[in-house]
Symmetry: C2
Subunit: 306 residues, 2 copies
Amino acid sequence: MLKDKIRNKEGGILFYGITPPKAKNTKEELEAIAKKQIDRLKDLDIDGLVLYDIQDESDRTDVKRPFPYMETLDPCVYAKQYLDAPLHVPVVIYRAVGKYDKEEFSEWLENRKGRDFHTVFVGAASKETKVTIGMREAYKLKKEINDDIVLGGIMIPERHTLKQDEHLKVFSKIDNGCEFFVSQCVYDLMGAKRFLDDYLAYSKEHNKPLVPIIFTITPCGSSKTLDFMKWLGINIPPHLEERLKNSENILEDSVKLSRDIFEILYFYGKGKGIPIGCNVESVAIRKDEIDASIELLHDIQKIMDR
Amino acid sequence: MLKDKIRNKEGGILFYGITPPKAKNTKEELEAIAKKQIDRLKDLDIDGLVLYDIQDESDRTDVKRPFPYMETLDPCVYAKQYLDAPLHVPVVIYRAVGKYDKEEFSEWLENRKGRDFHTVFVGAASKETKVTIGMREAYKLKKEINDDIVLGGIMIPERHTLKQDEHLKVFSKIDNGCEFFVSQCVYDLMGAKRFLDDYLAYSKEHNKPLVPIIFTITPCGSSKTLDFMKWLGINIPPHLEERLKNSENILEDSVKLSRDIFEILYFYGKGKGIPIGCNVESVAIRKDEIDASIELLHDIQKIMDR
């Protein structure tokens, strides 16, 4: 179903994105966490559950990480061992390709043969990160070993504001086999709008089809979370940062803002003929932030009329 | 043609808006001004030329007016005596109803019988302004004397941000005979977006059709013009005001910003099924600001694919 929606290049795809639990948890703790997540997700009308593959991005910047890095469970392991049977929703597994060597990666691709599988390849956080295989090799191996996998790429609207070439990166990834894109969390509406304009213009000029662009939005519950988002490279326009930091209810305001930004992008895409989807992300651990992400998901369902 | 577009409730209506020349000009000066304006407009693909009816709005606020008030020629006189024959485009005449007494206004309506005529009624700038007839009476007289006139109303997105009831005002004006709306100049994208959301929701809930909403955009060439726009009650979000005031090229930046804001609203409306049009306004006298408004008009033509 998700595979069909992606390959038919449909708009209105809806994801929910979470990070797997910390690897240091015991089996019992992991089961308890999984049960909670399943309870929260089982009645939701989503097309896929995104599972992030967390890498330590400290290489990328000299600024201190606001939250400590702790290794998380491999998203494939978490999905298969803890979520798979009780949760009847496709998973979309992020794969930080730089974590693996060629043999591991090839075996992983091999083992996913013969069933619907969705993944998003993520490159190294910075050029300084030690990698064993790069994106080019990952694309090549995917094509050789298991070309049936539904492959996605990441897209960063903020980068478009800086360099105006994110649409070129996207089309190059499409040439390498990407069939959909999930954005980094978007607070910069104009950057995202201009990316869509250039994405559409290039597609028309070169007669290339448009694949679904899935915008990620995420509630932000505290100044510390906001700092963390900035640390991750998310561009929060200064006036919005100011507004959120001075807000009496930063969580509520960020949910409202995220919903408005997505609603604009969704119908803008609809008006222009660009397939737009949404990924509601919950990267926080605090209960009120998780609840807010579920509330946001319900809002998006309404916007998408599903 | 314009009449049909309005009555068919179409999106994509395009206006250009100007103020008539100062009344103190001689006949020769007026002819020279009109010639210049006709030259600028004659090759443009627009649906209508908006002519404002300027009233002294000093009653509305205690803040000093940045530009002095000077009486302008009556827009009907200017249209008929100076523009009518050479310019083959429908005019949309603003009518500040509070300037007239009942007899004058009735005669004016009477004299417009038997031909296509488009007008926008504007109420008093403040409750303190001395008026002879009010909006209620103007609507009543129009219905009694000349109901064929194509009537528009004004819409202020900024007011929606403050009071959340602009859509109710709009539907009440529709009940009074308004068939389209022209907004005040819009720099507050989120306010305009939320107005459209509420406008659509109310229309669905009460099973009322949506009439065209024509958003006004205007280039701003200097800090003084910006102050004037603020004085007129246009809400420029603080971060945009900051950006424009500190801009090396305020004119170019304001054109770009206005175009992006309109493009978003246009396709947002298209996606949601709300008919959106555009009124490019040139209220300034400086040549570079006028040129910028024409350039902006060309951009909007492209956006509308006309």
